[in-house]
């Protein structure tokens, strides 16, 4: 029995600033058919933290249940994002509104640089991160899989870095595992792979590389059966994490027999 087996080591946790988590699967709340389906996925994923966006109240919409009435901040850590912001200034104001709304210093900082790819604006992300860190935020920046950008954000004091595996909502999987490995080897803070995961094997690969956690949304919301995929992702994250801790065997180009070569009968 390995002491690193998560089943035998249920206390294995990770920290983001002063926040501690057991689940390594963070999920979004966008693109679901209903709040109830979203909640069922969060439960199936075993997630403790859920991202939300901030948008204008529609005063003409019929008054019904809101997202937070179903996905309760008393039950889950809500992580407000700054999605849709294209400048540092917009992201900073949005982060402050999120803090006011949800009473949390945690923020998923997103400053988008390009509409088509939704790749981050690295310079603006660094600029916004500096201001938010000075203001006491626990900053989790969404960023390109650029080791230098990740190192800079970590050195500034971000509680984690969140490199993308592929464009948001693309489901392309881990497109640059080599960069992720370099980030994992050179950054001291938790590395949360955010965006691009399409199916369970992608999640397992990211965790086997040594990612601290994964953040995903569309892979669940746009699966044919979102709740079943949420469960698959939970298992994949656990399997990937456990395999990472177990340590994989070395790769060999040639075969190495599993059965003894001694004692073979003369037939």
């Amino acid at each position: 029995m390995s002491p690193h087996d998560s089943k035998e080591n249920p206390a294995e946790t990770f920290s983001l600033g002063s926040f501690e988590f057991r689940s390594r699967l963070i999920v979004g709340s966008g693109k679901y058919e209903s709040f109830e389906q979203n909640l069922a996925c969060i439960e199936a994923a075993g997630a403790e933290m859920v991202t939300v966006a901030l948008r204008r109240v529609d005063f003409d919409a019929p008054k019904g249940q809101g997202l937070l009435d179903v996905i309760s901040p008393e039950r889950f850590q809500i992580l407000p994002n700054t999605a849709g912001c294209y400048t540092a200034s917009e992201a900073i104001t949005t982060a402050k509104l999120g803090r006011e709304l949800l009473g949390t210093d945690l923020v998923k900082l997103e400053v988008i640089g390009d509409e088509r790819t939704l790749f981050p604006d690295v310079a603006a992300t660094l600029e916004a991160a500096k201001v938010l860190l000075d203001d006491g935020f626990t900053v989790l920046p969404y960023i390109t899989d650029d080791p230098v950008a990740c190192q800079r954000l970590a050195a500034m004091g971000c509680a984690a870095v969140m490199p993308l595996a592929a464009p948001i909502g693309s489901g392309m999987g881990i497109r640059n595992p080599a960069n992720l490995r370099i980030i994992l080897e050179t950054v001291e803070v938790p590395v949360i792979v955010d965006a691009g995961v399409g199916t369970a094997s992608d999640a397992a690969v990211a965790m086997e590389l040594g990612a601290t956690a994964l953040l995903m949304n569309t892979a669940l919301a746009h699966a044919k059966n979102p709740v079943a995929m949420a469960r698959a992702m939970r298992l994949a994250v656990e399997a990937g994490r456990t395999a990472y801790l177990a340590g994989r065997m070395p790769r060999r180009l040639y075969a190495q027999a599993s059965s003894p070569t001694d004692g073979l009968a003369n037939l």
Binding site: A53, G66, L67, E100, N217
Partner: protein, 77 residues
Amino acid sequence: MKPSLSNSDSPVEITVNGEPRAIPAECTVQNLLDLLGMEGRRVAVARNRDIVPRSEYAAEEIRGGDHVEILEAVGGG
């Protein structure tokens, strides 16, 4: 008749979430939220891009020409 500037009953024009809106003069953020039926809703408010803390809703006055943003949490990744 008093000049409109000193008449506290004459409405003033502001912008709320990008739409023009007439509100009573001497309207606080709390008054505006009540007018809009936001009672009990979890919202965050910015006035002219400055965040208005919840503790200041009752004291913060809105003036003519102000741009007010009232936001809520929605699904996002």
